[in-house]
């Protein structure tokens, strides 16, 4: 088993007075694709926002490459090589397609990804590069959001609900591109509602239920019954 690059130890996360995560333990290894599944409100997005630094936590509850980052600022976390493709894409509407990609690259980390490589991965974006990002279709916007995260040359990329609100054919295309993205040794955390998709692309899976880890296992070993129990909490 390779060394974990990201470790969550008893992570508690709060929105104001509301506690969204309770003592979550989780590990991501080098080059691993991890899936996080769970019902709406289970805490999946909170988990990603905590890792990214958008929600402050106890410093020691999140360690990345041996450094405690639980209370680190999001821009510092980004510089360290963690990137996120946020739920709902959240492109910058005042920026063109190319500018959205370029701002992703401003952390200036060494690595294989640059504008050229992103355009090779998603050729449609090169045709549309001067357009306002909001003028693209949902699927194309998702490509920009993925490209924007890749431009940072992260060691760990987090995808939050990448298939949400997209047509099935688009989702298939994006998932087809995934192995090419995470193949180069990059680790990935995928938050996904579509359990079949999540299990197909990942090596391990965590299920969250009401802010707690209710299931953890190898993606090819967990049974549907286990998942149903972990997902809904029914016996």
């Amino acid at each position: 088993m390779p060394e974990p690059i990201l470790t969550l130890t008893g992570l508690d996360a709060f929105y104001g007075d509301f506690q969204a995560l309770y003592g979550v333990d989780l590990e991501v290894s080098e080059g691993e694709v991890l899936a996080i599944i769970g019902a709406n409100g289970a805490g999946k997005t909170t988990l990603l926002r905590s890792i990214a630094g958008l929600i402050g936590n106890e410093a020691s509850q999140i360690t990345y490459r041996g450094r405690s980052i639980g209370n680190a600022r999001p821009d510092v976390v980004a510089q360290m090589g963690l990137a996120m493709v946020p739920e709902g894409r959240q492109l910058f509407p005042s920026l063109s397609v190319e500018e959205n990609l370029m701002i992703g690259g401003r952390v200036n980390r060494e690595g294989p990804w640059n504008l050229r490589k992103v355009y090779d991965l998603f050729p449609i974006l090169e045709e549309r590069k001067a357009q306002a990002s909001t003028s693209l279709s949902g699927g194309q916007q998702q490509m920009v959001a993925i490209g924007r995260a890749l431009m940072a040359n992260p060691d760990l990329i987090m995808f939050d609900e990448i298939s949400l609100g997209l047509a099935p054919v688009i989702i298939r295309d994006i998932y087809k591109a995934l192995p090419g993205i995470v193949g180069g040794g990059m680790s990935a955390v995928i938050v996904e509602q579509d359990i079949t998709k999540a299990l197909a692309v990942s090596s391990r899976v965590y299920c969250l239920q009401e802010g707690r880890v209710s299931l953890e296992g190898r993606s090819d070993a967990v049974s549907r019954e286990d998942i149903a129990r972990a997902y809904f909490g029914v016996e």
Binding site: A52, G53, L54, R73, P74, D75, A78, Q79, A83, M84, P86, Q90, F92, P93, S94, L95, E99, M102, I103, G104, R106, V107, R148, A152
Partner: protein, 287 residues
């Protein structure tokens, strides 16, 4: 003839108002901060210019070399040290804090420079004029207008053609996601305030050459700046220039009818446009 003259003089005056407004517009555009102290910062820049000309014995325009970086530095420190802590979902704290800042600056200037009106000596620049057909155009108003156009073109270029401008726009669009791109929003906001106060420095020096000033005149400059921003449309820099020009023309036209109507005519023009086009003439920010 009087009419044409008033329109031309008003247009040139509008350049100064656009400089008052550009900093306000920039700060609001990037961080949704309404800076009540903006007028007093303009006056502060005028006093810094005065001190520089007296101490170093240089022309007021040369004093820009000192005052522009000084104001930019003040802006960065002010933003990082004070104003960043007021920003959040609630729009009231920044209003209250910049109002307090306005009071502090006015009183500090009163302590330091007294209430006596001051003026900067720009020598021949103040009286020189060029004849254009039947019109006689002051060199200073012409220069002010040219500087205003250059400053706004420069800001426009910075906003839409540079990495710094991309950072400004991205942070303005979505602060959380901008931070995920490795942008430190506190630093970005500091840079925005530094740039805004650098423009304010130019406005303050030109104000101090054109008219006499005392510590209490900041409020009026703030109003003119606001009106120019609103007339032109929030977040649109060239609109700000148009807004300044409309305000300047309304004021000079009012003054040709009756000298007492100068300010009133400007305010009426502003109210009419606000009533007819509540979002200004060229709004960029919708919704």
């Amino acid at each position: 003839m009087d009419f044409l003259n008033a329109v031309v003089q008003g247009t040139l005056l509008g350049g100064l108002y656009a400089l008052f407004a550009a900093g306000l517009s920039l700060i609001f555009g990037v961080m949704r901060l309404v800076n009540i102290a903006h007028g007093d910062l303009i006056v502060l820049a005028a006093y810094l210019g005065l001190t520089t000309t007296v101490v170093l014995g240089v022309h007021p325009l040369v004093a820009l070399i000192v005052v522009v970086p000084a104001m930019a530095g003040i802006g960065y420190v002010l933003q990082r040290g004070v104003l960043n802590h007021t920003l959040g979902d609630d729009i009231l704290p920044p209003l209250l804090v910049t109002f307090g800042l306005s009071v502090i600056i006015q009183n500090a200037l009163l302590e330091g420079y007294s209430a006596d009106p001051q003026k900067m000596d720009a020598g021949v620049l103040e009286t020189a004029s060029v004849a254009l057909g039947p019109l006689s155009l002051g060199l200073l108003p012409l220069l002010t207008f040219a500087i205003a156009v250059a400053v706004i073109a420069g800001l426009q270029w910075t906003f839409y053609r540079t990495p710094l401008g991309r950072a400004f726009r991205a942070t303005s669009d979505n602060q959380d996601i901008a931070q995920l791109m490795g942008l430190n929003k506190r630093h970005v906001f500091g840079l925005a305030m530094a740039l805004a106060l650098a423009v304010t420095a130019v406005a303050g020096i030109l104000l101090g050459i054109r008219t006499s000033f005392d510590p209490s005149v900041g409020g009026g400059r703030l109003i003119f700046g606001f009106e120019a921003v609103i007339i032109g449309g929030l977040g649109n820099l060239w609109g700000t220039l148009v807004g300044g020009v409309i305000l300047g023309v309304a004021q000079t036209l009012g003054a040709t009818i009756n000298p007492g109507w100068q300010l009133l005519a400007g305010h009426i023009a502003f109210l009419v446009i606000l009533a007819v086009r509540p979002n200004g003439l060229f709004p960029r920010i919708s919704g």
